[in-house]
Symmetry: D2
Subunit: 409 residues, 4 copies
C-alpha cells in the first residue's frame, strides 16, 4: 500500500501521468503497437482527455493559497463552454441547410427540427446546471474572487457568437460599463464577432423561408387578402349583433372591448405601421414573413405545415430558454456578489438584470402573433382540389446557393 498515491501527492502523479501520455503520443511507434494490439483508438485518446481533464489550473493555487471551490468554478464554466460549442455546431448546420436551400429542402426539414430540438435540450440542461454552481456560497466565492481579477463571463466569445448567429440585434444590446460589447474583445475574436453580425442569422434565414410560404401569392391562394376580407366581415357582423342589444352598462363595456379588438386587427393589416415598429426594433420579422408565420399557425394541421409549425414552436422555445438562462444567471450572480446595495455605478448584477428583456429576444414576433388569433371559422377555407399547396421542396430561397456545397452529412 505504501506505493499508492494516497500517501504521496495524488495530483502530482495524476498530472505526471497525463504528461507522460502526451509524450507517449509523440512516440508514434510505441503508440502504433499499442493501437495495433487493440485494433483501434482508445476511449481516452478519442476524447482527448489529456487536454480536457488537465485544463483545470487554480489561480488561487498559483498565488499560494489554494481554495478548494475554485475547481468547481472552473469546471462549471468549462462545461458551459463545451455545450456552447455544441450549440454553435448545431446552429451553424441549421443555418447552412436553409442557406443552401435547394430542391432537397423538404427532406432536410427533419434535420432542421431535430437539431433545433437538440439545441433546446441542451439549453434546458444549461439552465439546470446553475444548480451546481449554486452549491458554492458567496462566502466560498469571496475566498478566491480576488484572484480572478478581470476574467468575467462577459468575455465568453462563444456565447456572444451564439447570440449573434441566433439573431440578437447588436443595436439593441445593453452597454456594459459604457462600452459597446465588441470593445471587450480583441484581435481575431473581435473579427469573428463582427462577421457573425454580418452573416445571415437564424432569424434572417427563417424570415426568408417564411416569406416563401406557399399560399401567400397574391395571384394564387392570396392568404393575406382573404384573411383581411374575412376579418373585416366578421367584425362587421359582430358589431351589428352588439348594436342590436338593448342599452346597458354591460353593452358599453363590450363595445369598448370590441373597438379595442377592431383597432388591433386594423393595425395588423397596416403595413406602414409594421415598418414603423420594425424601425423601432419592436418587430423583427418582415411583413411578408409575419404573414407566412400566421399562415402556418392557421393551417398547421395540413401535412405540409406540420413540421414547419413544430419549427416555429421550437424557435419560440429557444428564445424562451435563452431568457430563462439569463434570468437564472442573474439569480446566481445576485447570490454570489449581492447587488452592491448602497454603491453607485452599474454592478454586474444590474447589467445582467437589464439583459433579461424582450430586447434580447429574437423570435418575439412569433409569440406576439398570439394577439392576432381569430375564431376558426374566420380562417379562409382551403379548397382541397384547387388550393393544394405546391411542394415545400421548391419554396426556399436559393440566392445563396452559388457557392454553397452540399451539407456534409
Amino acid at each position: 500500500m505504501s506505493g499508492c498515491p494516497y500517501f504521496q501527492n495524488r495530483d502530482v502523479l495524476f498530472q505526471s501521468r497525463l504528461q507522460q501520455k502526451n509524450e507517449e503520443e509523440r512516440d508514434d511507434s510505441q503508440e502504433g503497437t499499442n493501437k495495433a494490439s487493440k485494433g483501434g483508438i482508445i476511449y481516452g485518446e478519442y476524447l482527448q482527455l489529456d487536454k480536457i481533464v488537465a485544463a483545470q489550473s487554480l489561480q488561487s493555487e498559483l498565488k499560494g493559497n489554494k481554495i478548494h471551490d475554485e475547481h468547481l468554478f472552473i469546471v462549471t464554466h468549462q462545461a458551459y463552454e463545451l455545450w456552447f460549442k455544441q450549440i454553435l455546431w448545431e446552429l451553424d448546420s441549421v443555418r447552412d441547410i436553409f442557406i443552401s436551400g435547394d430542391a432537397r429542402n423538404g427532406r432536410n426539414m427533419l434535420k432542421v427540427t431535430t437539431r433545433t430540438h437538440r439545441i433546446i435540450t441542451i439549453f434546458k440542461l444549461l439552465v439546470d446546471q446553475f444548480a451546481i454552481l449554486e452549491t458554492m456560497t458567496a462566502l466560498d466565492f469571496f475566498d478566491f474572487r480576488e484572484y480572478l481579477s478581470l476574467a468575467s463571463g462577459f468575455q465568453s466569445l462563444q456565447f456572444r457568437l451564439l447570440e449573434n448567429k441566433f439573431g440578437v440585434s447588436s443595436d439593441r444590446r445593453v452597454y456594459y460599463n459604457r462600452q459597446h460589447y465588441r470593445d471587450n474583445f480583441y484581435g481575431q475574436d473581435s473579427e469573428l464577432l463582427l462577421c457573425s453580425e454580418q452573416e445571415p442569422t437564424l432569424l434572417r434565414v427563417v424570415e426568408q423561408w417564411l416569406e416563401r410560404t406557399p399560399g401567400l401569392e397574391e395571384k394564387g391562394f392570396n392568404f393575406w387578402g382573404k384573411l383581411e376580407a374575412n376579418i373585416t366581415e366578421g367584425l362587421k357582423r359582430e358589431r351589428e349583433k352588439l348594436e342590436m342589444r338593448p342599452e346597458s352598462e354591460d353593452k358599453d363595456e363590450q363595445m369598448k372591448d370590441f373597438i379595442k379588438q377592431r383597432d388591433l386587427f386594423t393595425s395588423l393589416f397596416d403595413e406602414q405601421r409594421h415598418e414603423d415598429l420594425m424601425s423601432k426594433g419592436e418587430r423583427r420579422l418582415s411583413y411578408k414573413a409575419l404573414q407566412g408565420a400566421l399562415m402556418i399557425y392557421f393551417y398547421r394541421e395540413e401535412p405540409r405545415f406540420q413540421v414547419p409549425f413544430q419549427l416555429l414552436t421550437s424557435l419560440m422555445d429557444i428564445d424562451s430558454l435563452m431568457s430563462k438562462w439569463r434570468y437564472h444567471h442573474v439569480c446566481m450572480v445576485h447570490r454570489m456578489i449581492g447587488s452592491k446595495m448602497g454603491t453607485g455605478g452599474s454592478s454586474g448584477y444590474h447589467y445582467l438584470r437589464s439583459t433579461v428583456s424582450d430586447r434580447y429576444k429574437v423570435f418575439v414576433d412569433l409569440c406576439n402573433l398570439a394577439t392576432f388569433l381569430v375564431p376558426r371559422h374566420w380562417v379562409p377555407k382551403l379548397n382541397p382540389t384547387e388550393d393544394s399547396f405546391p411542394s415545400t421542396d421548391t419554396c426556399c430561397d436559393s440566392s445563396y446557393c452559388s457557392n454553397s456545397s452540399e451539407d456534409s452529412d
Copy 2:
C-alpha cells in the same frame, strides 16, 4: 367485447362509477364488510380519489363545444393548487416551531431545515411543471379561452396566502388593474388574506430568531463592535499601503476603488442609514437581525452555526425559486396570449412581468450581505475557552409561548 366501455361512452361510465362509489360510501354496512374483509382502508378511499379525479369539468363541454386541451389546463392548475397546499402546510409548521420557540428549540432545527428544504424541492418541481402546460400552443388555448371569462390565476387564494405568510410585503405589491390585490377576493377569502398579513410571517419569526444570535450581546462577545473595529483598522492599513505606492494612473484607480469600498463599509455601521433603507423597503430585516445573519455567515463552521447557516441558505433558495417561478410563468403567459403589442392598457403579461422584481423578494437582505464580506483575517477571532456560545436552545423568542401548544408531531 361489446360490453366494454370503449364502444360505449367511457366518460359516462367512469363518472357513474365514481358516483356509485360516493353512494356506496354512505352505505356504511356494505363498506364495513368490505373493509373488514381486507382489514383496512383502501388506496382510492384513502386518497379520496372520487373527489380528486372527478373534479375536471370542462367549461367548453358545458357550452357544447368540448375542447380537448381544456382538460390539461384544469389538471395543471389543480396540481399547482395541491402543491401550494403542501407548501402552506410546511410553511405553517415552520412558523409554528419558531413562534412556540421553547427550550427544545435546538432539537427542532432539524425539522425546520428539513421542511424548508422540502418547500425548495416542491418549488423546483413547480418551476419545471410549466413545461407541461407549454405543450399547449397559443392556438389550442385560443379555442377555449373565451369560456374561462374572468377566471384567472391571479385569483389563487392559496398563492396569495403563501406569499403573505412567507413575507411578501403587501405595501410593495404591484397594483392589478389599478386595484389592491385584496380587492379581488371576497368574504372569508379576503379575511384569510388580511389575517395572513397580520400574523407573524416567516420573515418576522426568522428576524426575531436572528436578533438573538448568541455573540451579539454588547456586554458579551460583542461581535458588531469587534467587527467594526477590525474593519476600521483593516481599511486604515490598506490605505497606508496604497498611499506609499508611487503616483500613477493605476494608483488613482485603486484609490477610487478603495474609497468606494470604505464608504460601503461605513454605510454598514450606520444604523440611521439602515432605518432609512428599511422605510423605503430596500431592506427588510432589522439592524440587529442583519448583524446576526452576518455573524452566522462568518462563523458558519462552528458546530452551533452549521444548521442555522443551512437555513439562511435555504431561505435565499426559496426567494430565488419563487422569482424563477414568476419568471417562467411570465414566459408561458407571453406565449399563450402574446404581449398585446399595439394595444394600450396593462396586459396580463405586463402585470406579471412587473412582479418579477426584487420588490417581491423577502430575504433579499441575505443576498445583499454578500456585498459586506471581508477577508477571513478581519473576522473577530473566537477565544475558544471564553467565547464559546451559549446553547442555541435558549436563544429564541418566547414571547409567543403563552398560548402555544407543542408542535403536534
Copy 3:
C-alpha cells in the same frame, strides 16, 4: 389581530370556509348574483378547489396521533393520480384518432405527435416528482405507516388502466403475492381493467397503422423483398472481400463476426422465427408492422415519413420513461422500507424490482430494430418518379370506423 386564525385553529377555519362554500354553491340565487356581478365563473369554482384542496384527511390524525409528514404522502399520491388522469385523457384521444382513422388522417398526425409528446413531458415530471417524496425519511414514514394498513400504490386503478391501454401484456405481468394483478381490484374497477385489456391498445392500433406503411406492398415498391435482396448481395460481397485477405488471426476473428452478422440478418427474414419469438412474448409487433417500422426508419427524411418517424421515437420515449418511473419508484421504496433483508417472503421492494424489466416494455421491438440497421447504400433506392408513396391520408385502417364519431375537438 385577536380575531385572526393564527391564534385560533387555522385548519378548522379553513375547513369550515370550504364547507360554507359548498353550501353557498347550493344557494343558486346568491351565487348567481355573485357571478353576474363579475360576469363569469371564478378561478376557485372552475377548478373545483373545494374538492381538491379539502381532500387531505390524515389517518394518523383520525387515530389521534397526527403525524406531520402524512400530509405530504397524501398530496404526492394525489398529484400522481391527477397526472395519471391527464395521461389517460391523452392516451384515449390518441387511440381514438387511430381507430377512427378516416381520410383526414394525415392532418391528424400533428395531434397524435403533440399529444404523445405531452405524455412524455408529463412522465418526465412524474419521474422527477419522486424527489419530493424522498424528502421524507424512512423514520418519518415509519411514524404513520401502520395507519395505512393495506392501502398500497399497487391498488392504483388509473395506473393499471394506463399500462393496459398503452399495451403492457397482462400475460407477462409479475404476480403480486401469488395473485393475478386484477384480483386486487373489485366490482366496476375490475371490469374497467378487463375492458382495458380487451380494447385496442396503443400497441395494437400503432401495429395496424404500421402494417399499412405505403411501400410495403409486394406488388408495389416491395420494400421487404428489395431489402432482402440488397442485404444478401451486400453480405456476399463482404464475404468475398474478406476471403481474399491473407490468413491471419485477425481474419479469423473478422470471419466469426461476419458469420454472426449474417445469421442475424438471416433471422430477420425468417417469418417463422418471428412468430416463435412473438409466442414467447419476445417480440410484440406483427411481422408486417416490423417491416413498416424499419421502412420508416430508413426513409425517415422523406417528407411523408418525418412525422411518423417522430412518432416512433416518441413511443420509445414513453416506454423508456415508464421504465425509469418504475426504477425511481423502486429506489424510493427501498429507502422507505428497506429490502427486508433477512426475512423470507416477497417484499414490496422485490416485487417492484421485478417489474423493471423488458417484460413490461411495450414498444421494445422498436428499440431492438437498432440491431438490424444496414449501411445507407444497402437501403433500396427510391425512384423519385415511380416510387412516390401514396398519400398517408389513405393508408390507415378504417375497420373501426363504422360507429366512431369524429374526434371531438
Copy 4:
C-alpha cells in the same frame, strides 16, 4: 462581407485562431503587455479554452466521411468526464477530512455535508444529461459507430476511480467479456485503479467514523445493550397482549406476523449472523458501524446528530443516484444499439443491465436499516443531565493523522 468566415471555411479559421493563440501564449512579452494593460488574466486563458474547445476531432472526418452527430457524441462524453473530475475532487477532499480527522473535526462537518451535497447535485445533472445524447437516434449513431472501433465508455478511467473511491467492491463487480474490469486498463491507469482499491474508500472512512459514535460505549450510555433490552421487553409485552385475544383466524395471522418480526429483531442482535452476511457481501458496514448508524437515526434531532444524520441521508442519495445513472445509461444504450435480440454472447446492453444491481451499491446497509425501525417509545431515553454526548470533536479516528497535512482550504 466577403472577408467573413461564413463564405470561407469557418472551422479552419476557428482552429487556426486557436493555434495562433497557443503560439501567442508562448510569446510572453506580447502577452505580458496585453495582460498589463488589462491588469489580469482573461476569461479564455483562465479556462484554458484553447484546450477545451479545440479537443473535438471527429474520427468520421479523419476517415473522410464527416458525420454531423459525432460531434455531439464527443462533447457529451467530454462533459461527463469534466464532471467526473469534479466529483473526484470533492470525493477526495471529503475522504481527506475524515482521514485527517483531528480535533477540528466538528467544524469540518459543514464542509463534508456541503461537498457531499455538491456531488449529489452533479449526479442529478449527469442523470438528466442523457436526454441530450438521446436526441441522437440509433440511425444517426449507426452512421459513425464503425469508426469508434473499440473506444468504449467502459474504458473511462475516472468513472472506475470514482466507483472505487466511493467503495464499490471490486470482488462484486460483474465481469466484462469474461475479464476482470482492471484488465481493460494498462500502465499507470491500471496502477491508479489498484491504488484506489487499496486506499481508504469513502465507505471505510465513514465506517470508522460511525464506529466511534458517542453513546455506543458499553461502559457509557451503552446504546446497543439498552436497545436490545427495550426491544426484548417490547416484544414480550406485544406477545402477551396478542395471546390474550380470543382465538380467531385473524389472531393466527397476527401471530405469524409477530414471529416474523421477532425473528427479524433477533437477527439484528446476532453478531455472528452479521459476519456471515458481510462475508457474502450482503452487508458492507461493520457491526459496530451499523450500531452507530442506527443510533444517529434514532437520535437525529439531538443537535449533535443533526448534521451526521444529513450526511447519512446524503450517502444514500449518492448510492441511489449512481444506480439511477446506471439505469438511464442502460436505457440509452438499449436505444442506440438494441439488445442484439437473437444473437448469443453478452452484449453491451446486457452487461450494463447487470450492473444496475444492489451489488454495486455502497451504502445499501443504510437503506436496509429501515427494516429495523422501532416505535419511538422503544428507543432508549436519554437522561439529559447524565447522557449528554461528548463533543463530536473528539470522536474521530486519528490513526491516519501522522502524515496527513491540514486540509488545504
